[in-house]
Symmetry: none
Subunit: 217 residues, 4 copies
Amino acid sequence: MVAILLEAAAQVLETKGLEGFNTNAVAQRAGVSIGSLYQYFAGKDALTIALMQRENDRFYQEALAALDHLDGPLALDYLIGVAVRQQFARPRLAKLLDVEESRPELRTALSGKGSMRTLLMEILAREGLPQQQDADVATRDLLAIIRGLVDAAGEREETDTAGLIRRVTAAVLGYLTMMSGADTERNDAAPRAETPQPADKRSESASTVASRQSKRS
Amino acid sequence: MVAILLEAAAQVLETKGLEGFNTNAVAQRAGVSIGSLYQYFAGKDALTIALMQRENDRFYQEALAALDHLDGPLALDYLIGVAVRQQFARPRLAKLLDVEESRPELRTALSGKGSMRTLLMEILAREGLPQQQDADVATRDLLAIIRGLVDAAGEREETDTAGLIRRVTAAVLGYLTMMSGADTERNDAAPRAETPQPADKRSESASTVASRQSKRS
Amino acid sequence: MVAILLEAAAQVLETKGLEGFNTNAVAQRAGVSIGSLYQYFAGKDALTIALMQRENDRFYQEALAALDHLDGPLALDYLIGVAVRQQFARPRLAKLLDVEESRPELRTALSGKGSMRTLLMEILAREGLPQQQDADVATRDLLAIIRGLVDAAGEREETDTAGLIRRVTAAVLGYLTMMSGADTERNDAAPRAETPQPADKRSESASTVASRQSKRS
Amino acid sequence: MVAILLEAAAQVLETKGLEGFNTNAVAQRAGVSIGSLYQYFAGKDALTIALMQRENDRFYQEALAALDHLDGPLALDYLIGVAVRQQFARPRLAKLLDVEESRPELRTALSGKGSMRTLLMEILAREGLPQQQDADVATRDLLAIIRGLVDAAGEREETDTAGLIRRVTAAVLGYLTMMSGADTERNDAAPRAETPQPADKRSESASTVASRQSKRS
DNA sequence: AATGAATGAGCCTTCATTCAT
DNA sequence: AATGAATGAAGGCTCATTCAT
């Protein structure tokens, strides 16, 4: 019954959005009475939280296998595939849950255990991938990039998962490569250095990278 | 008056989130009566739409100057700076408006003119940047990446704009570089090519990139 | 089982008040299923009525012994003691049941047999107590006085039963004495008699009693 | 509008009891929408509290005049009259509000200022009335007696206010007389004193008073 | 134009009661 | 007989919207 209600909640969220996400709609879609819903969930927020955790766990179970690939790049490939497929399977649901997650009432109740973050962070540290100055920030950034790309794809109702995975992979590796060994000093307002530095020693502006690019082509 | 109401709406959205975003709160924050609000906006949705357009236009005005930089990389630099600063100035507002944008009622009414997309697409076509197979997709992806990164940074209440711009730039250029000249054929299930190809001829998996990376270091 | 449920109902009523008095809470406190409750009671009202009768009967059993004291004053002493102790043992319960009793649905179903009223009326008629013009009214008034005093004491969470009994006794005897032989004619708007009359011939105003009081002291 | 709603609340409480006292019923009886109710009262509890205060104030205004009677007995007469008339005017309302008052949420919010208690206490201290050992307890007891008597009369739907006032006066004065100068020592279980003491020196049992009574008659 | 009191549909939640097991 | 999951009417409350002033 809990499963039925959670799935109903997910579908309501997907179908009618946050506006139409109410307990009556969920109960109706689940084919049960509103009273039954409250027999299994303390309230609407509890239902939402449970749904978040279901999605989290669902992803986490699949993603754990990524750790079996000892090679960093392969593990990352795998993880990206899982992440994209998961979020792409129900992009609207993922996005709306993400929004709900920012509500303080829900945020606090959400157990952070077994999150994708820890998984990705562990993989990033592995052999074969461009090492990052600040692993924590890099992890969060990559997740944000993935989420951003997949959400947008979902909104456009793309169907080509393979193509999407390719683009996400490009974005992730591009970020990792560009940020590899980036220094953390402030240099936004400062004049650009006259002499180009190796890509793995500094963060790049579009212009410096582009100059290198154009030389190659 | 319209301006006052829009700013009030923006502030309410930022302060109290979607939950607290109601017409009475907006009118109160604006210091006018609820009746006045309805004199200028047909309804709540109209207010929301107008706010979206204000944010869009606001950005567009600043971003237009990017076109003055004839050099592609410089123009991109400029555009990224504007985009990040704009969205980072009011990250919660940006994100919540983005969510609202997914509601069909609002989506349809939103005029796509003068959007960031056209701007970015034009710049991507310029000299000095890695050229893309599918410019349209690349444009959307980059916007999604920027939005994802800045939203996440906003949620974490980061304050280092310069650092954020650096990371966004890295992500954008990383994506562009990696995707440069990527083919569009499906090859997800296909076996990986044994011999690495130049980066501008194919989209890369983590493993192939990583192999190059490790050779460099 | 009936007894268990009734006691559970009593405890719920005491603990959580009218607000928290619901069938699920009663069943839970009784340690049985809600279904069992409905096996023994036709509904919530039936349960409430049964509880009222239990309290009534309980009191009545103890109070019956008062009739063994052939002397009026002693019998009254005894009855007061029982009444106060009974109600004071669970003052909140007594009061809330009293409130419930005013609901028409419950009132009609409540059998008046074996009530405290008949007992008290019989005792009031006995030798040695100030005789009343209208025994029925006096009986009801005394019960109201007792209930009022004990309820108030219970609400203040007094613990001194002996002191309370003393005050109740004073009130009861005070009433009986003052009302002894009171006439029943209307004289509210009439001018006060100039010459004080004996206490057992008329109902007294504060001023006439007071004048006697001050002479005594 | 506040007045209309309060009166509607009072009528609903009287007509349908605590069970039927809900915001929709109040709004309907007031002839306004439920929304209007919430424009003037923060919630159901706020409405209840306001009603309590209205009743309190209403009484207090009338009762204040009692202090004009410098003579204790006259002042007491007056106060009793006001109290009985007030509570007798709407006995069910008074009783149900009294019950509600025991709910902690309401109790705390109720400003104790200008209560009947302070008024009665002041009058009890005046010249011409039997002085009490513990004025505070006496005050509370008298209020309890009055409330008890009037509630009971109201429940029986008596109509003879004058008669009721007479009985209440008797009860009040009886209590005051009997308790006058009562000692506070414990003597419940102790054997009764063989030699009668003056009424104003001790609290009496039914038997000792009765013996005096029977001698008089 | 501006005001803001009034409206009422609709949401969240509780709880008395039923009934299949 | 006992169980307790399921039901759904009903109640408290919010908020978008209207309209008389």
